[in-house]
Structures are given as structure tokens and as C-alpha cells.
């Protein structure tokens, strides 16, 4: 029985316990009430008897004093009035003088044995009488003039508990009904509160008893309580009651999707274009970068379904590119470069195709394509090649001369000392030229790469300009060129890299000197405004043609004008000068007319921001 009870659901058990203990409490309370009532009734009865005894004693005494001696009448009266078991008056020697049962008159009073109690002079004895049940016999002495001259005796049946209870009978229905109703209501309320838990518990019990591996049939419950909502959430079927799929399957699905989307994310984040094709060359996946290269939209989705040949324009791209498509070569990894000249893009793409292998390393005809935009690299390569070619020539020319003259010197047949001297001087000059070229090259390279920092300091501009002028003056005088120097008296101090600015200005003036014929004029003009310093180098030299003008700042550029070629020059001077001016935040502009002359204008800003002095 107990076992079965424990198998009962919690909710039922709770209700059962509630009812049981509720009822027990009610019953206990009622018993208590009854007991109290009984005791009170008892006390009342006792008190009444005592009062009666005293009244009776008084009446008997009165009768005795009056010498009435009609005790029997009194006894009878009392007996009927009080409904006693018996009443009697006894003389002081113990003989009944009067008795409700006439037959007892004259007999000797016997005090029954039993429990006694005394209140002042009233004495009571409880005893069991065979016929009448429990009786209480009261005895009180009758005192006349202070002496006990007789006894009054009365016996009453003890109040029966049952009778007391039954006297309450009228209250019983209400008394019983009321708690019952309350309990019932309580039970109902309890049951309702506990119902969701009961449902949950039932499902859990099913789960507990179901064989392992079987599909658990957990479904949501329809109770809008926190328990219900919580359970439903747990079961993950909000409100529609559909069976929960197997957790393992769902987990696998989620992992799969996660992996796929993660992979896709990764592929779409790459800068290289990736495509996957099937055995027919149809694109099954393309990442966003590829779509970008081909100018076909923002996402790789737009390429799905097209063939890779179409997208890359492989057929038109030449022999090497066609190899990428050759079925015979499917199993190998091939790389080709394709030049694209489309409407939206122009450039060079490096295409690598590898066979797509499954997990078992078997090729299934599909391919993975990796496409990289190498336009920038190609451009850089081209520029580097140009540079190397130009530099090679400039380096080899002086070396040629050095070697030739050195060999000529070594030739023992040369005896003419003057000639020997000339040969040595030539060698010397060529070495100088070579050295200067290498220096210029290094400076220029470093400046362009950004690894040169300007050592800008507050410079005495007047002195700087003075030095520049002095450096070029001999060259100009030698060629008989008039040199005009127009520099304002007061020059602000500039924050510049003194050495580099000197190099730049000397270069400009040097060019003016080189390319101006004898008798010409070179003017060096400096002007200062609020925001900038402006330097003009004006000459009446051979000028620069309109077609050469945009190219003069290019590295190694030398005009094809033969007059230019008569002078030595590496083609780096203006590049260097331009770079120096640019690093200072300034500009160079040129105005020139062929055969008339040129004016080079350098503008250097006087900005406050440049007032940071770096340590030399």
C-alpha cells in the first residue's frame, strides 16, 4: 500500500496529504470543542448541585427549627424538582428520616465508596451504581445553632458525555459542513495549482519508464503558468504541439550549416577569386571576390550556373589559357596569365586551376579555380624592368670609358705624357660621373620608398641661397652667361632640410647653365609672400619641347633633342629635385618654349605645421 502511494503522482499525493491532514485537524478541533463543552457542562452541573445542596440544607434546617419535621415532603419536593436519583434526610446518627424511596426510611445511611470531593461542608462521592450508572452523592450537614443535627443527601446521575455531545446535535450539521466545504474548496484550488506540475510529472514519468533510445514524446502543456511556459520552452515547441525532433539530428544539422556558412564566410573574405566547377566547367560556387574582378556584381551567386570559360573569356585569351580548358590536362594543376581588356576592367589575371578531389583523394572531374589580380604586380614588374634597363645603360657607359682608357693607358706603346694625362683625366671624370649617378639613384630610391626622412631645421635662408649662387657662379661665368641674382634683402628663416634644398636649387641652376648657350642669360629670382617662398630660375637656353615637357620629371628621361645629348646628364636630376620639393610640401612648375628658354618655379610653403624640428 505504501509502495503504491509513493508511485502516485506528486500532485495527487499532495492533494491526498492535504485532505488527510486537513481532516485530521478538523476532527481534532471538534473533539477539543466537545471535550471543553463537556467539562464546562460538568462544572456547571456541579455548581448547581452545590447550590441546591445548600438551599436544601437551609430548607431542612428551617423545617427542623419550625419543628415541622415534615422532611419527607421536602425530600419529595426536591426529588421531583431536581430530578435526582434520590434525596434523603438523615439524622445525626445516620438513620434516614426521610427518603425519596420510602423503603429506605429508617435504614442506616451507608456512604458509598468512591472518589470524594469536598467543598466547604458539602461532600460528594462518585460511585458506580449497578442500575443507574455513575452517580454523584452529595451530603451536606444541617446545622442548627452551629451543631450538625442532621445530613441532607442527594444523588444525581453524572452528566453523560454522550448526552452532552448529542445536546450539541443541533449545531452539528453547520459545524461539520462548514469545515468540509472549506477543505473541499481548498482541495480544488490546490489541485488546480498543481495540475501543470502533474502534467509535467506525467511526461517525465513516461520518459523515465520509456526504453532508452526510443523517441520521447514530450509535448508542451497548456497552462499559462511559469511552470507551463518554462516546460514549453524546454520542449522547444512553442504552442503547436509538434513532436520534438531528435536532438542528435538537430545538432548535426546545425553543425553542418554552421560549417558551411563559416566556410562560405571565409571564402567570401578572401581577396583572391575562388570558383568551383563541375566536370562540364559550370560554376557551382564562386566567391564574392571573383564576381568583383569580373565586374559581374557584388556576390558570387550571380556567377553560379555560368561556365568558367564564359566568365573569364578564356577562349579568346590565347594558347596558354586554352590549356586550362583542355580535358586531357584535367588531372594536373595549371597556371596561366590572362590579359583582360573588358568594358569595366582591364588588367592581368593569374588563373590557377587544380582538380577537385574528394575526401578519398579521387578526382571527380570538377576543378577549383584560384584567380588573382596581378595587374599591380605586372605594372611594378614593368616599371622595374624599365628602371633596370635605363640604369644599366647609365652605369655601363662610364664603365666602358674607364675600361677603354685604362687599357689604352696600360698599352706600353703610349709614350706621349700629355696623352697619358688626358686618358687619366677622362678616367677620373668618368668615375666621378658614375659616383654621382649612383648617389642620385640611391637618394631617389630612398626618397620614393620613404626611408629618407627630411632633417628639417630652422635655416638661415639667406646663407643657403648665397651658397647655391656661389656653387653655380663659376659654371656660368665659364660659359659667359650673364647671371642675375634677385633676392630680397630680408628673408624669413625656413624650416627645411638645408642639404637637400641646396641640391635641388643647384640642380635647377646647373641645368640652366648647361642648356643655355654662351652669351645667354640666367636669372635667379626669389620672392616671399605670407604663405610661401617662390624661387624662379629663368634661362634663355634651348627650352623644352611641348611633347617633352610632361616627361621631364620622369626618372632617366632625357630629351631626344641632340643639344641635350651634348651635355652629360643621367636623367635623374629633375626627378630628384621634384622629389625633394614634394617632400617639403612644395611644388615645381615649368614654363618653356623651344629655342627661347625655360623658367622653373619652385614654391615652398612657410606653414607653421612644418615648424617641427627633427634632430639632425
Amino acid at each position: 500500500m505504501l509502495g503504491k502511494t509513493f508511485r502516485l503522482e506528486l500532485s495527487r499525493r499532495v492533494t491526498a496529504y492535504y485532505l488527510v491532514f486537513g481532516l485530521a485537524s478538523v476532527v481534532w478541533l471538534m473533539a477539543g470543542v466537545v471535550a471543553v463543552h463537556d467539562a464546562m457542562e460538568d462544572a456547571r452541573a456541579e455548581k448547581e448541585c452545590l447550590a441546591r445542596m445548600r438551599a436544601a440544607a437551609s430548607a431542612v434546617r428551617s423545617a427542623a427549627v419550625r419543628e415541622d419535621r415534615d422532611f419527607q415532603a421536602l425530600v419529595d419536593r426536591f426529588h421531583s424538582q431536581w430530578d435526582s436519583a434520590y434525596c434523603a434526610v438523615a439524622s445525626d446518627d445516620g438513620h434516614f428520616l426521610a427518603h425519596s424511596s420510602i423503603g429506605q426510611v429508617g435504614r442506616r445511611q451507608r456512604v458509598p465508596s468512591g472518589e470524594t470531593a469536598t467543598w466547604d461542608d458539602v461532600e460528594r462521592t462518585r460511585y458506580v451504581d449497578g442500575e443507574s450508572g455513575v452517580l454523584r452523592e452529595y451530603r451536606v450537614p444541617v446545622r442548627i445553632g452551629g451543631e450538625a443535627r442532621g445530613i441532607f443527601v442527594m444523588a444525581v446521575p453524572e452528566p453523560d458525555t454522550w448526552e452532552t455531545v448529542l445536546s450539541l446535535g443541533s449545531h452539528a450539521p453547520a459545524a461539520i459542513l462548514f469545515p468540509m466545504v472549506i477543505l473541499a474548496l481548498g482541495a480544488v484550488a490546490l489541485r488546480r495549482t498543481v495540475r501543470p506540475m502533474a502534467e509535467v510529472e506525467r511526461q517525465l514519468q513516461l520518459l523515465a519508464t520509456a526504453p532508452s533510445g526510443a523517441q520521447a514524446d514530450l509535448h508542451p502543456i497548456k497552462f499559462p503558468s511559469p511552470v507551463g511556459v518554462g516546460w514549453n520552452r524546454l520542449v522547444q515547441c512553442p504552442g503547436n504541439g509538434s513532436p520534438r525532433p531528435d536532438l542528435e539530428t538537430r545538432l548535426n544539422q546545425a553543425l553542418e550549416t554552421f560549417r558551411e556558412s563559416k566556410l562560405e564566410q571565409v571564402l567570401n573574405s578572401l581577396a583572391d577569386g575562388i570558383a568551383v566547377t563541375d566536370e562540364n566547367g559550370v560554376i557551382t560556387f564562386a566567391n564574392n571576390a571573383l564576381a568583383g574582378f569580373l565586374g559581374m556584381g557584388m556576390t558570387g551567386q550571380t556567377l553560379s550556373g555560368k561556365t568558367i570559360e564564359q566568365c573569364l573569356g578564356l577562349e579568346a585569351a590565347g594558347e596558354r589559357a586554352a590549356e586550362l580548358l583542355a580535358p586531357a590536362l584535367r588531372g594536373r594543376t595549371l597556371v596561366a596569365e590572362i590579359e583582360r581588356a573588358g568594358e569595366t576592367s582591364e588588367g592581368v589575371l593569374r588563373v590557377a586551376r587544380s582538380p577537385l578531389r574528394s575526401a578519398e583523394r579521387k578526382a571527380n572531374g570538377g576543378a577549383v579555380w584560384i584567380i588573382r589580380d596581378v595587374t599591380q604586380q605586372k605594372l611594378a614588374d614593368r616599371m622595374r624592368d624599365q628602371f633596370v634597363n635605363a640604369a644599366t645603360h647609365e652605369l655601363r657607359t662610364p664603365m666602358t670609358n674607364i675600361k677603354a682608357f685604362a687599357e689604352m693607358l696600360a698599352d706600353s706603346e703610349v709614350t706621349d705624357v700629355e696623352q697619358q694625362k688626358m686618358f687619366c683625366n677622362t678616367i677620373n671624370d668618368e668615375v666621378t660621373r658614375l659616383a654621382r649617378f649612383v648617389d642620385d639613384l640611391l637618394h631617389l630610391s630612398r626618397m620614393e620608398v620613404g626611408s629618407t626622412s627630411l632633417h628639417q631645421q630652422l635655416t638661415d635662408t639667406e646663407r643657403l641661397l648665397g651658397e647655391v649662387v656661389n656653387k653655380v657662379r663659376p659654371q656660368l661665368e665659364q660659359k659667359g652667361i650673364a647671371f642675375e641674382v634677385d633676392v630680397p634683402a630680408r628673408l624669413p628663416e625656413l624650416v627645411v632640410d638645408k642639404d637637400k634644398v641646396t641640391v635641388a636649387l643647384v640642380n635647377l641652376l646647373g641645368n640652366a647653365a648647361k642648356y643655355t648657350p654662351e652669351g645667354g642669360r640666367v636669372r635667379f629670382h626669389v620672392e616671399v609672400s605670407d604663405s610661401a617662398m617662390r624661387i624662379d630660375v629663368e634661362d634663355t637656353g634651348i627650352g623644352i619641347s611641348a611633347e617633352d615637357l610632361p616627361k621631364v620629371f620622369e626618372k632617366f628621361f632625357r630629351s631626344s633633342d641632340p643639344r641635350v645629348h651634348e651635355e652629360t646628364g643621367s636623367g635623374l636630376g629633375l626627378s630628384l629635385t621634384n622629389e625633394i620639393v614634394r617632400l617639403h610640401g612644395g611644388r615645381i612648375t615649368i614654363q618653356s618654349e623651344l629655342d627661347k628658354g625655360s623658367t622653373f618655379t619652385v614654391t615652398l610653403p612657410l606653414s607653421v605645421e612644418k615648424a617641427k624640428c627633427s634632430s639632425a
Binding site: 624592368d385 633596370v388 634597363n389 644599366t392 645603360h393 655601363r396 657607359t397 664603365m399 666602358t400 670609358n401 674607364i402 675600361k403 677603354a404 682608357f405 687599357e407 689604352m408 706603346e413 677622362t426 671624370d429 668618368e430 632625357r558 631626344s560 641632340p562 645629348h565
Partner: protein
């Protein structure tokens, strides 16, 4: 072998190099005329007779290669031997002398010498070509 002095045309834009070549060839007993660019060399070729041309490859305006090409087209000049001096490294590219000559068809009596060159070797090659040229004319 004829006793007349052979006339060499030197086309070179660099003065020092031209001087060196002239000195060495004159010391070898040859007569030398120097042109400072391709155009003037071409002009001189049309005006006078030369037995040998020594030309720089990279010159502003008409290059040595172009000069060679033009000479090849002219029947009178096609037989003149030529030495081409080049400062270019030996990477093959479309403007390299070797490629240029290949595209013109391999012509005998043409030599390529890289810069820097040894004057002695130059004189040696010049002599060889002059003998070969004399043999065919």
C-alpha cells in the same frame, strides 16, 4: 689584300667612348670618321664609301639597330660589315640586338660586342671583318 687605307664610320653619342674608339682604330692604321648620332651616320653613309661601321646600339633618335636595318635594305650598303656595341645586359627582350638581328635574318658580317669592351678586342674584330668584307667584295 688592297693597300688602301680602310675607312671606318663610328656612330657613337658618348664623346669619351667615341674618342677611345677613334684612337684605337687610328692606331691600327684605319681612317676614322665619327658621327654623333644615327641620322648623321646614315647621311655620311650615303655620301661616302666606308669599309666598316662601328655603331653604338642605344642612341637617341635612330638606334644602331635601325641603322643596321636600313643598311640591310640598301644593296650598296648591305655588304658593309658592322660592329654593334651595346650596353644592354644579355636578357632577351624584343629590343635586344640579338633579337633585332634575328628578326632581320642572320646576316654575316655583323658582330655584337657588349659594353664595356676591350679596345684590343674591338680592333681585332674590326680587322677580321675588314678581311672578310674585302674577300667578298
Amino acid at each position: 689584300m688592297s693597300e688602301e687605307v680602310k675607312h671606318v664610320l663610328v656612330a657613337e653619342d658618348n664623346m669619351a667612348t667615341a674618342t677611345a674608339i677613334r684612337y684605337n682604330l687610328e692606331k691600327a692604321g684605319l681612317k676614322v670618321t665619327v658621327a654623333r648620332c644615327g641620322e648623321s651616320a646614315w647621311k655620311l653613309l650615303s655620301e661616302r664609301d666606308f669599309d666598316l661601321v662601328v655603331s653604338d646600339f642605344q642612341m637617341p633618335g635612330m638606334t644602331g639597330g635601325q641603322l643596321c636595318e636600313k643598311m640591310g635594305q640598301e644593296p650598296r650598303l648591305a655588304g658593309i660589315p658592322m660592329i654593334l656595341l651595346t650596353a644592354k645586359a644579355l636578357e632577351p627582350d624584343s629590343t635586344h640586338p640579338l633579337q633585332v638581328l634575328r628578326s632581320l635574318g642572320v646576316v654575316p658580317l655583323r658582330r655584337i660586342m657588349p659594353k664595356p669592351f676591350s679596345p684590343r678586342e674591338l680592333v681585332q674584330t674590326a680587322r677580321e671583318l675588314l678581311e672578310a668584307g674585302a674577300a667578298t667584295s
